[in-house]
Amino acid sequence: MSTQSAVKEVVYYKAETAQLFAPIIALAQNSANDIPAAIIDKQNAARALFTTYGVPYPKLERWKYSNFYPVLKKMDLAPAALTDIWRGDLSLVKPIKDMLAELWVQALLTKEAPKSDDVRDDNAFWYLNDIQNVQGWVIDIPAGANVSEKLLLETVNKDNTYNAERIIIRVGRNARLVLDEQHNHQTNDHRYFKNWVTQIVLDDNAELVHTRMQNDSLKAAYVQNTSVTLGRDARYYGLTINKGAQIFRNQYAVMFEGEGAHASIRSSANVGHDQHIDLTTCVYHNVKSCTSDQIVRNVLHDKATGVFQGKVYVEKGADYTDGSQSSKALLLSPFASMHAKPELEIYADEVKCAHGATCGALDEKALFYARSRGIAYEDARAMLVTAFLEEVKDGLPLIEDSE
């Protein structure tokens, strides 16, 4: 594409974006006045940034494969907040609006969106969420607490709505939390756009087991930005199981700030139709002796697309880092596609970083083996697919639900 037409495309996107999101931008400008000035400033800055950059367009390196615009423009985006989404010990969850006096909450709300590759327009959806950054929840687990009951988030979004949710989680020193998110839908023709930001802070030796069942409407768009910072010996285990959504961008920024910490980012998808499932990560090994793994298993039917853009960045001096990435896809239709781009950027000397990406069909020989033992074709296929998807759970401290 020539530079001229590229410029045209960008201008076009930005103009259209302004129109599409006008109700949201207008709404935020009327927001209440009992909000600390720093946060109001942040919202104003975000509004300016989003208006400048617009919905990310495919010319941007990190958005090459995932274009939200065609899906969003079919929507009538009426802003909607969520209520009554939490199950479990409700005393652990507070509306952000009730926590604005807390300095650490203010600090997170005013924090810069994590940058990838020094480009700012990469983060437009984060800015868009910043505009309504007081809409959401704070979960603050005190030091030493081991919450035995898991915290459950259940959401069903309404047709033709836009929902920006902000979830702030702090797990104190030596504390542990299990958070399970269930993203459901009413019917598969409901169009809605969820643009969520989750900020997670794990103090020394804290642990968060964070699972997500993504079963959104087949006409839904969902952007999930998650940032995780880990203190010494902290552990983050994140697992997303994708079934739904027309287009989903699951974007992670993980920052190690204390030695001996571990992060797992796992994602599986069993999708078809014209679904599009994107996992984009940046894992920053800023300090020594931390480990991270990223495991992606996608089973793609029909015209489905999978994207994995994984990045492991190892800072100078962050020796004894072990950061692995593994992406495997089963393409079960000639029209399905997978784009896998595991990347490494290493400035330390003593580092173990394995990465691999494979893509293929179901193993015909294994299929025959199972059939020759009496297992019917469809069952043999289902058995192999299930086993493939289950690999994302390897080594995770999960408590299986009896379904």
Partner: protein
């Protein structure tokens, strides 16, 4: 009675089986020997129903049905079992899950009641013990990280569990150490009940010391070129296949 008549099979335009005929009476053990590339595994695969092989002529009749008309899983339910020369690894599927699924699928197709996990375990425990397959192995993904010999034992364990009417063993002895060979042969012999038939493919007379065949065939160039009693295997040990290969070339 299993009756293979005038079987022709090809793969990728290459004709491998060229009019192979064979009859196995109930309860009998037939051994097949023959040079590398003769078509022994092809025969086993065609019987089990592997789709890469195109059968251009002939039939395989068992229980009055032509097996070639059936899907692989239907053949299994009918009582056909093939122990693979190179057993596959099935990542992520434990042997127990795999085998119980297989067993119940067959039972269902035959209209029998399915086994619950307790009944299944009761059945497999003593068999696994006899064949030296550990509990750990049963829980591990099928054949994953197993040695060649361990995979062969797993094949025989599957056979013992599935209790086929007609078992084809494709070089089940290769890769086994001397003790394992005896264990596996004992496992096969335990299944001999006067009704069940076996087709044992091997390169070594030694296996036939343990599993005594009723009939020995030589397969060369896609056909059975000689049939005899157990003494034929001994003779081949001495003479090799030179005679059959030169006949074939002629």
């Amino acid at each position: 009675m299993i009756s293979i008549k005038n079987l022709h099979a090809r793969i990728e335009e290459k004709e491998i089986l060229k009019g192979l005929s064979l009859e196995i009476e109930p309860g009998k053990v037939h051994a097949i020997m023959g040079p590398n590339g003769a078509g022994k595994s092809t025969l086993a695969s065609v019987i089990a129903g592997r789709e890469e092989y195109e059968v251009t002529e002939g039939e395989v009749i068992m229980n009055g049905k032509n097996l070639l008309d059936l899907e692989p899983e239907e053949r299994a339910a009918e009582g056909v079992f093939m122990a693979f020369q190179y057993p596959l690894e099935i990542p992520g599927v434990p042997m127990n899950t795999f085998l119980r699924t297989a067993l119940n699928a067959q039972r269902k197709l035959r209209g029998e009641e399915e086994l619950d996990s307790l009944a299944y375990l009761k059945k497999i425990k003593p068999l696994a013990k006899t064949l030296g397959v550990s509990d750990d192995m049963l829980k591990r993904a099928l054949n994953e990280g197993c040695s060649g010999g361990e995979k062969k034992r797993n094949e025989v364990l599957q056979m013992s569990m599935l209790e086929p009417q007609f078992a084809v063993l494709d070089e089940t002895d290769s890769g086994l150490d001397i003790d394992a060979l005896r264990v596996v042969a004992d496992g096969v012999n335990a299944l001999r009940d006067g009704q069940r038939s076996f087709l044992v493919i091997t390169h070594y007379q030694r296996l036939l010391d343990y599993i005594k065949p009723d009939v020995v065939h030589v397969l060369a160039g896609g056909r059975i070129v000689e049939t005899g009693g157990p003494e034929l295997a001994l003779r081949l040990e001495d003479e090799g296949y030179a005679k059959f290969i030169s006949e074939e070339a002629a």
